[in-house]
Symmetry: C2
Subunit: 214 residues, 2 copies
C-alpha cells in the first residue's frame, strides 16, 4: 500500500491513524500542499480531484478519507472502527460526519486560500471564520457526547473508532488556530484518551518525516 498525504492535512492524518490502528505499514508519499504539489500532473494522474489522502492498493487508487477508512475496516476487520449494531454504527458515523462534513470542509487549505483571494480577507477574518465553524461543530459534538450513555472512554464505548479518528485531527487544527476548547470537556477527555493510544500519537503531524525535514 502507498499513502499519498501531507503531514498537516487532517484528512490524511485520519488515514494515518486508521492504518496504525490496523497495524498496517504503508509506503508514504508526501504531497506538499503548501507548495502546490497536489496540482502537479504527477499527482492529478493519481487523484483527479487533486486532494490528499489517496491510498494506492494493488494498482487501484482509493480517495476520500472516510471511504478509505470504511474500506480498511471492511478488509481488515480487527480492531473494528465501527460497532456491530446498526443503530450504534449510525451514531458513530453521525459523529464522524459532523466533523468530516460540517467542520473540516470549511477550514481546509483551499477554502482559506479563497477567503484571502479573491474575497480579500486578512488573517484575522480567516481565524474568526475558522473558530466560528469549529465552535459550532464542537458545541454540537459536546452535546451529542455528553448527552449519551453510549459515550465511554472514547466517543462510543471503550475502544477507539471512526468518530475518534475524525475527532483527533480536528482538535489538533483547533489548537493550531487557537480555539478556546474549555467549553468541550467531554470532547477533550476523549481526545486525551485517544492521544494515550500509540496509533494516534504516532500519526500526529509533528511526528511525520516531512515535518522533521522542514
Amino acid at each position: 500500500m502507498k499513502l499519498y498525504g501531507y503531514f498537516r492535512s487532517s484528512a490524511a492524518f485520519r488515514v494515518r491513524i486508521g492504518l496504525a490502528l490496523k497495524g498496517i505499514e504503508a509506503e508514504r508519499v508526501p504531497v506538499d500542499l503548501v507548495g502546490n504539489q497536489h496540482f502537479a500532473a504527477a499527482f492529478t494522474a493519481v487523484n483527479p480531484q487533486a486532494r490528499v489522502p489517496a491510498l494506492e492498493v494493488e494498482g487501484r487508487v482509493l480517495v476520500q478519507s472516510l471511504a478509505i477508512l470504511e474500506w480498511l475496516d471492511e478488509t481488515h476487520p480487527n480492531p473494528p472502527f465501527l460497532p456491530a449494531d446498526p443503530f450504534a454504527r449510525a451514531r458513530v458515523r453521525g459523529l464522524a460526519d459532523v466533523i468530516a462534513c460540517d467542520i473540516h470542509p470549511l477550514n481546509n487549505l483551499a477554502v482559506l486560500r479563497y477567503l484571502a483571494d479573491p474575497l480579500g480577507h486578512d488573517e484575522d477574518a480567516e481565524r474568526v471564520w475558522y473558530q466560528h465553524w469549529i465552535a459550532l461543530g464542537f458545541r454540537a459534538l459536546e452535546a451529542m457526547l455528553a448527552g449519551s450513555r453510549d459515550t465511554g472512554r472514547f466517543c462510543h464505548g471503550d475502544a477507539p473508532g471512526l468518530a475518534d479518528i475524525c475527532l483527533v485531527p480536528q482538535v489538533f487544527k483547533a489548537r493550531r488556530y487557537k480555539c478556546d476548547l474549555a467549553p468541550y470537556p467531554t470532547l477533550m477527555r476523549v481526545f486525551e484518551a485517544c492521544m494515550a493510544v500509540p496509533a494516534f500519537d504516532r500519526a500526529q503531524p509533528d511526528k511525520q518525516p516531512e515535518a522533521a525535514a522542514r
Copy 2:
C-alpha cells in the same frame, strides 16, 4: 419512522431518495430552515446540531444524511446502495464524499448566511463562491466518472446507489445557482438516468408538500 427535513435541503433530499428507493414511507416533519425553525428548542431537542435531516426510528434519532443512508442500507438491504466488493464500495463512497464533504458543505444555508453577515458579501459574490466550489467538485467527478469502466448507466454500474443519491440533489442546487453544466456530460447523463427513476423524481424539492404550501 419520522423524517425531519426541509424541501430545499440537499441533505434531506438525499434521505428522501434513499427512503423512496427502499420503499419506506416515513412520516414527514418539515423544519423551515429559512424561518429558523431548526434553532427552536423543539427541534434542537431532537437534534442538538440544529440541522436536517434527522430520522426518528424506534425512539432513537439518527443524524447526518450519509450515516442515515448507511443505516438504511444495513437494515433494509434491498435494493442495495453499495456494491458487494470492497474496492467497488470504496469507489462509490469516494464519489459520494466528493459531493458530501467537498462541495455541499461550502454551499449550505449557514455558510451563505455567514458570507453575507459578518463577511459583508453581496449576492453576486455569493453566487461566484457557489459556482466555484461546484465547478471544482464537478470537474473532479466528471474525470472520475468518465475515466472509469465501472461507470455505467449510473455512477457505478447499472443500478442507482449512494453516489447517485448524493449527485442528484447537488445538480438541482447547481441549476438553482445557474452553474454551467455543459462541461460535465457524463455526470449529466447519469443525472438524467436517475431522474427517470420514480424514487428520485418523487423526492425532488418542488414535489414536496411544503413546496406546494408556499
